[in-house]
Amino acid sequence: MLTLFLIFWPLVATLVLFILRPDEAKRWALAASLLEMALCLTMTFAFDASRTAQFVVDQPWVASLGINFHAGIDGITLLLVLLTTVLTPLIILSSFKQNYENAPSFYGLVLFMEMALVGVFCALDGFLFYIFWEMALIPIYFICLRWGGVNRGPVTLKFFIYTLAGSLIMLVGLLYLYYHTPGDHSFDIKALYAAGHSLSPAEQGIIFWALFAAFAVKMPIFPFHTWQPDTYHTAPTPGTMLLAGIMLKMGIYGVIRWLIPVVPEGVEKWGSTVLTLSVIGIVYASFLAILQKDLKRLIAYSSIAHVGLIAAGIFTLNKVGMQGAMVQMISHGIVIVGLFYIIDIIVARTATQEMANLGGIRLSAPRFNTAFIIILLGSVALPLTSGFVGEFLLINAVFQYHFVTGAFAALTMILGAVYMLRSFQITMLGENNATTKVFSDLDRKEKWVLYPVVTLVLLIGIFPGPLLNISAVAVDDLLTIVMNYQAGIGH
Amino acid sequence: MTLYVFYFLSFLAVLSALMVVFSKNPVYSVLYLVITFFCVGGHYLILSAEFLFAVHIIVYAGAIMVLFLYVIMLLNLNQDTEPQKRTLYKFAAVISGCLLMLVLVGALKGAESAQLVFGKQTHIGTVQILGKMLFSEFLLPFEVVSLLLLAAMVGAVMLGKTPMERLQNAEKSKESDLKTRNLKTLPNE
C-alpha cells in the first residue's frame, strides 16, 4: 500500500497542480516532492535490510495477458527511490529562481517524471516496468522541448527517437521472454527469470541484446551515446538534472534487475563485450571531455565516462562491483545534479556556458567556489567524497575481472582530474573579467540546493555503510539467481 | 447446339467488349457495350436465368446505358474531344491486360475436370423461385438494396441539384485558391 502511495502520490500532486496559480505551483510541487521524500525516508526506516522485496503490491491488472501490478521495494530499489525522491525536491528547488513560463505544466511534468521513475524502480512486472520506463520519457521530452535551449527541436527529437528505439527493442525482447514463460504466460519478474533461464544460449544472447538495447541507449554506453551531449546541452537545467541525475540510472538499474538475472548465459556470452565497450567508453568520453568548450557538454561527457565505469563494474558480476555500482549511482546522481546546478548558477549570472568567457569567479564568490570544489572532488572521486567509495569498488571489481580492463578503467581517475580541474581552473580561477566581475555569491535559495548536495557528497563518502548495507541482501539475491543458474547448467 | 450458341455469343461479347475499349468515339463505345450486354443477356438465357435476363436488359440496356448515352450527349463528347493516352501507355496497358489474363487463367485452371454436382433444383432462374428467395432468405439484403438505392438517389440528387451558376462562381474563386494551396502542398525546398 505504501508502495502504491509512493508511486502515485506525485501523480496526484500533478493533478492538483493544474488548479493552482503559477507561483503556488512552485511551492506546491516542492511540498509534494518533500512529502514524497518524507514518505520514502519513512519507508527506509521501516525497511528490513535483511530481506529482499518488501512493501509488495501484487494486483492483477490485465489478467488475461498475465500482466499484474506487481511492485515492491528491495535494497536496490530503495536506494534508487531514495535517490529519486531526494533529488526531485532539490531539482524543483533549483528551478525556483528561473521563472519558467507556464509553471504548472513544468512542475507537473517534473512530478509526473518522478512518478514514472519511482515506478520503474519499484516495478516487479515486466510490463509494468516497460510502461513506467516509457512514461518517464514523455515528461522529459516535453520539458526539453518547451523550456530547452537552442536547436532543441531536432535534438530532443533525436533523443526521443533514439531512446524509444532502444525501448521498443526491449519490448520485443520482453515479449519474447513472455512467450517463453511457463504455463499461462506471465510478465511477473520471477516468470521472466524462469523464461530467460529456459532459453538456449544463442537465444539468450539475442535477448541479451534486445533488452540491453534499451539500457545501453539510456545509460548511455559508448557508442550509443551521441544523443546525450546535445540533449544535456539543450535541455533546461532541471531537465538535465533529471536526465543525468536519475534517468540514466534507469538504464543501469535495468541491467541489474532486468538483464543479468534474466539471461545469465547471454550475459556470460556478451558481458565481456559490453564490459570492453564500457571501458572504451570511459577512456573515449574522458578524452572528449578534455577539450570541450562548453560546460554542460563537458559534464555530459564526464557522465558517459562515469556511467561506463558503473556498467563495467556491473558486468563483472562481482558483488563488490555491484555494490560499488549502487553507491556510485547514488553518488553520481547527487554529484551531477550539483554540477549542473553550478552551471545553472553560472549561466544565470553570466549568460554564457562557454568556459572561455569565464574566469576568476572564485574571487567574488567564495562560497560558491567551495561548493563547486567539493562537488568537483566528488566527481573526481577523491577519498572521503561519495565518488570515491563507488569508484574504488568498481575499479576493484573491474580489475579483478581483468587487469587490463582494470587499468584502463582506472584511467578515469587521471583523466577525470584532468578535465574537471581544467574546467574549474578556466571558470573559477585566474583574474576575473567583465562578465564575472559582478558575480554574486550564493543566495539563500541556492544554498538550500547546494548545501544539501555538498553535505550528501561528504556524508556518503565518509559513511557509505548504510547505503551498502541496504543493498547488500538484494545484490546477493540477484547474484544467487545467476549462480544457481550456472550451477544448474553445470558451469 | 447450345455449345454453338455459346460460342457465337461469347465471340460476339468479347469482340464488342474489345470494341468498347478500342473505339475512338465514345458513342460507339456505348453502342458496343450495349451489344456486349445483349450477348451476356443471351448467356443468361442459355443458363435459364430468365428473370435475370429481364432485369439485365431493363437495368443495363434500358437504364444504365441510356444514362451513359445521355451523359455523353449532354457533355457533347465525341471523337475529337476524346483524350488519348500516349502510345507507350496504351502499349503498357495492353501488355498488362494480357498479363492479367495470363495470370488469372494460370490461377484458375487446374479445376478443368471439375464436374459439379447437380443441385436439388435444376431450373432455378425463374421469377417464382428467385422471388421466393428474395423475400425469405435474402429479405434483408433486398431491403438493404432499397436503402442503397435511396442513398444513391439522395446522393445523386444532391450532387445534381447544385446550381450551375454557383458552380461557375466557385470555379473562379477556386482557381486562385488552387495556386496558394498547391504552393503549400509542394515540397518547400
Binding site: W61, R152, L164, V172 | A111, L147, T162
Partner: protein, 458 residues
C-alpha cells in the same frame, strides 16, 4: 439488430425532417439516436443471435464493433455540426452519413457475403457523395471522383473473388463456406485461392493496404475535413473488421495459403505509409498516411489470426479511432483559422490555445504509441498477437516503422510547442468540441491504463 432499425429510422427521419420542418431537432435526435443504438446493442451482448436467415449475426464481435461505430459516429456528429450547417442539403448529409454508418454496421456483423457486399456499397456510395460534398471545391470533386473510380474498380475485383468463392462452395453464407472449405475443396482449390486473393485485393483496397492505397492520401486530403475524419475512423474500422471477420470465419483453415500475401501487404503498408508520411506538409495528408499505416498494424493481427486477434483489433480500432477523432477535431478547429492546414499552421498553438495543443499532443502521442495512452497498449497488443503466432520479424519491422511514426507525429508536437507564429488571437473551441475532447482524452487514458476493460471482450 434493433440498432440497425433505429439508425435506418434516423436516416429516413433525416430525409423527412426537411419536409416536416424539424431540422432543429435533427442534430440532437441523431446524436441521441446513435447513443441509443449503442445502448440497444448491449442487449445483444453474449446472445450471438443470427438475424434474417443468417444474414447478420450479432455475436460479441459484431456488437462490440457496432457499438464502437455508433459511439464514434456520435462523436463524429458532435465534431461536425458546423459542417452540416454550412450546406444547403443538411438533411441529405445527415441521412447519407447515417446510411454510411448502417453500411459500416453491416460490414462488421454480416454472416453472408451479400451483406458484406451491400454494406460496403452502402457505405461507399454514401461516401463517394460525401467526399465530393464541397461541390465548388475542385479538390473535393477530385477526391470524390478518385474515390469513386478506384472504389468501383476495386469492387469489381471483390465481386470476382466472391463469385469464385461461390463457385467453389455454392453458398454466400460464411459458415457454410467455412464448412465447405474445411471439408476440402478438391480440384476447385485453385478457384478458392484465386478467389481469396481477389478478395484480399478488394478488401485491401477498402482498408487502403499498400499497394492498393493510392486513393487514400488523395481522397483524404481532398475531402472535407470532417468527411476525412469519418473515413479514417468509421470506414477504416468497419472495413478492417469486415475483412477480419471474413477471413477469420471462412479462410482460417487454409490460412497458410494467404498469410504470405497478407504479410507482404502488411510489410509494404507499414514501410511505405510510414516513410511517405514523414515528408508531408499537409496535416490531413499526413494523417491519411498515418491512417494507412495503422491499417498495416491491423493487418498484423489478421496475419496472426489467433485467439486474441479479434480482441486486439477491437482494442486497436477503439484506440485508433479515439485518437483520430481527437486529432481531426483539433484540425477542424485549426482549419477554421487557416483553411489549408499544413503543419506550420500548428506553429505556436500552445500559445494560442494550450488546451487545444494539449489535446492534439495526446492524440499524436497515442497514435505514436506512447504509454500510458491507449495507442501504446493497442500496438503492444498487436505485437503480442503477432508474437503468439511467431511473426517476430514482422514485430521488429512494426517496431521500426512505429519509430518512423514518431518522427511525423512529433512534427506536429514540435510545431505546437516549439515553433513560433506571427498569428495571434486565441482559437476558440466550441463547447461540443470540448465535450469530445473530454470524452476522448479520458477514454484514451482510461483504456490505456485499464486495458482490461476492452481486452478479451471478443
Amino acid at each position: 439488430m434493433n440498432s440497425v432499425f433505429v439508425l435506418s429510422g434516423l436516416g429516413i427521419f433525416s430525409l423527412l425532417a426537411e419536409i416536416f420542418n424539424a431540422k432543429r431537432f435533427l442534430f440532437p435526435v441523431v446524436v441521441l439516436g446513435l447513443v441509443a443504438s449503442a445502448l440497444l446493442l448491449m442487449a445483444d451482448w453474449n446472445q450471438g443471435t443470427a438475424h434474417y436467415s443468417n444474414m447478420l449475426t450479432f455475436d460479441n464481435y459484431a456488437v462490440a464493433f457496432s457499438m464502437t461505430l455508433s459511439l464514434i459516429a456520435a462523436l463524429w456528429f458532435l465534431m461536425s455540426k458546423d459542417y452540416f450547417a454550412d450546406h444547403a442539403h443538411t438533411t441529405d448529409h445527415f441521412s447519407l452519413v447515417l446510411f454510411a454508418v448502417i453500411g459500416a454496421m453491416f460490414m462488421v456483423s454480416y454472416t453472408n457475403l451479400a451483406m458484406l457486399f451491400l454494406g460496403i456499397e452502402v457505405l461507399s456510395i454514401s461516401l463517394y457523395v460525401l467526399a465530393g460534398s464541397s461541390f465548388g471545391d475542385i479538390f473535393s470533386n477530385e477526391a470524390s471522383f478518385k474515390y469513386f473510380l478506384m472504389g468501383s474498380f476495386a469492387t469489381g475485383f471483390l465481386l470476382f473473388g466472391i463469385a469464385l468463392i461461390y463457385g467453389v462452395t455454392a453458398s454466400f453464407d460464411l459458415h457454410v463456406i467455412a464448412a465447405h472449405i474445411s471439408a476440402g475443396t478438391g480440384d476447385k482449390t485453385t478457384w478458392l485461392y484465386a478467389g481469396i486473393l481477389l478478395l484480399i485485393v478488394g478488401l485491401g483496397f477498402k482498408i487502403s493496404a499498400v499497394p492498393f492505397h493510392f486513393w487514400a492520401p488523395d481522397v483524404y486530403e481532398g475531402a472535407p475535413t470532417v468527411i476525412t475524419a469519418f473515413m479514417s475512423t468509421i470506414v477504416k474500422i468497419a472495413a478492417f473488421a469486415g475483412f477480419y471477420r471474413l477471413f477469420s470465419i471462412c479462410f482460417a483453415t487454409v490460412s497458410g495459403e494467404w498469410t504470405d500475401v497478407v504479410q507482404v501487404l502488411a510489410i509494404l503498408t507499414l514501410l511505405v505509409s510510414n516513410i511517405t508520411a514523414v515528408y508531408q506538409h499537409s496535416v490531413k495528408r499526413m494523417l491519411a498516411y498515418s491512417s494507412v499505416s495503422h491499417a498495416g498494424y491491423l493487418l498484423i493481427s489478421l496475419l496472426a489470426l489467433n485467439t486474441i486477434s479479434a480482441s486486439a483489433i477491437l482494442y486497436y480500432a477503439v484506440a485508433y479511432a479515439l485518437a483520430t477523432i481527437t486529432a481531426f477535431t483539433v484540425l477542424h478547429n485549426i482549419e477554421a483559422d487557416d483553411e489549408n492546414a499544413v503543419i506550420d499552421s500548428f506553429n505556436g498553438l500552445v500559445k494560442r490555445n494550450p488546451y487545444l495543443a494539449f489535446c492534439m499532443a495526446i492524440a499524436m502521442l497515442s497514435l505514436a504509441g506512447i504509454p500510458p495512452l491507449a495507442g501504446f497498449f493497442a500496438k503492444y497488443y498487436m505485437f503480442t498477437v503477432a508474437f503468439k503466432s511467431g511473426y517476430i520479424a514482422l514485430v521488429v519491422l512494426a517496431v521500426v516503422t512505429s519509430l518512423i511514426g514518431i518522427y511525423y507525429y512529433f512534427r506536429i508536437i514540435i510545431a505546437m510547442y516549439l515553433k513560433s507564429t506571427e498569428k495571434t488571437g486565441a482559437i476558440r473551441v466550441p463547447l461540443r468540441h470540448s465535450v469530445i475532447f473530454a470524452i476522448t482524452l479520458l477514454l484514451i487514458v482510461i483504456f490505456g491504463v485499464f486495458p482490461e476493460l476492452l481486452v478479451g471482450l471478443v
